[in-house]
């Protein structure tokens, strides 16, 4: 492994996840002993922060809910300021299996950003209807500009290397789908390389999955809009590919 465990910060954005946070943290310890864990409590009203502290994680508490994008930008900033070389993003609800973390890390040798992808062979996670079309659209467009097959652009299970951390510490969108789709577009436009690792998803320990036809149709519409806007936005000159940072 090119990166040592002490250089890795595992960031768990959490909003009211008291039912699953302890289990998820213990699971990480089992798979990646000695890993630094940062729970970003995104304005929870339950005991998420207390439980996470007791389970041995560092806890940052946002004063109110600002969404996954805000929680993650905080994670990247914190990692950048404290000299971490890798940020692993993992959901606190237990959906993401920490057993894949070593595999994600290994792939960071070749890429700046590695996505844990749900539709790449592993596991039996499936979607249908408009949601499937939306994910297909996102996947096709983004794979083309990445020059690499990316089947799951909305996955929240990712590993970011040093270059991705510096970029995301400055620019990580808080909008809907910004934390997944737009952040990928930002990375690609800034010349970062992105690849994926197939992962199986587990059942959530707490919380409710959101899936009905109307919501899926809305998702399709918002995904297409987010994608178009993301590509239209100008790149921050400081992040241009091949541009030397001062």
């Amino acid at each position: 492994m090119a990166f040592e465990v002490k250089d890795v910060l595992i960031v768990l954005p959490a909003f009211n996840e008291q039912a699953s946070i302890v289990h998820t943290l213990n699971d990480i310890d089992k798979n990646v002993p000695g890993a630094n864990k940062l729970v970003v409590d995104d304005g929870s009203t339950d005991k998420t922060a207390d439980y996470a502290r007791q389970a041995g994680a560092q806890v940052a508490q946002l004063p109110f809910n600002i969404g996954v994008g805000g929680a993650m930008r905080f994670g990247f900033r914190h990692a950048s300021r404290n000299g971490y070389k890798v940020v692993i993003q993992l959901d606190a609800d237990g959906q993401h299996d920490p057993a894949y973390i070593p595999e994600l890390l290994r792939n960071l040798d070749q890429s700046d950003l590695v996505i844990g992808a749900r539709f790449a062979g592993e596991g039996d996670y499936e979607v249908h209807g408009p949601r499937k079309w939306a994910m297909g659209l996102l996947s096709t467009v983004i794979s083309r500009s990445a020059n690499s097959k990316l089947t799951d652009t909305t996955s929240g299970f990712r590993a970011s290397g040093p270059r991705a951390i510096e970029l995301f510490a400055k620019d990580y969108p808080a909008e809907y789908l910004g934390d997944t789709v737009e952040s990928l577009v930002i990375a690609l436009k800034s010349g970062l390389t992105v690849s994926q690792v197939p992962v199986a998803m587990r059942k959530r320990i707490g919380g409710q999955p959101s899936q009905n036809a109307w919501q899926s149709a809305v998702f399709l519409f918002r995904a297409a809009t987010a994608l178009i806007i993301a590509y239209m936005r100008p790149t921050d000159p400081a992040n241009e590919p091949h541009g030397e940072k001062s």
Partner: protein, 121 residues
């Protein structure tokens, strides 16, 4: 009598804008569009001939329609500007929230002591 209603209302609107500016309840960049609207209304209500000529030159059957369209356009512009400013404020609030979380986290691990800042004494 009806001739005076327009000018009186416009002057009242201008007076409200100016007082709000004086009391610092309104910043000039927010007042700009409202001021333009109020002054235009005042101007047109004193010289209605201009409105009549302008609307017939532009091909409006009823001059009132021109007034309504201009008013609507003004409302839309101001609304759009407010949405943009709201977005700007949301971004700033988000950044502040992140900074507060960072300070609290560093404080809890003893890197920075928040009580060292002179402001908090």
């Amino acid at each position: 009598m009806t001739y005076f209603i327009g000018p009186i209302l416009s002057i009242a609107l201008i007076a409200i804008i100016v007082t709000q500016l004086m009391r610092k309840r309104l910043r000039e960049r927010h007042a700009l569009w409202w001021a333009i609207g109020a002054i235009t209304t005042l101007f047109l209500s004193i010289f209605p001939g201009i409105l009549l000529n302008l609307s017939s030159w532009l091909g409006f059957v009823a001059p009132l329609n021109l007034v309504l369209i201009l008013g609507l356009a003004l409302m839309l512009l101001v609304n759009l500007q407010h949405s943009a400013e709201l977005t700007d404020l949301e971004n700033k609030v988000r950044t502040l929230a992140e900074e507060i979380a960072e300070l609290k986290l560093e404080d809890s691990i003893g890197k920075v002591n928040v009580s060292d800042f002179p402001e908090s004494n």
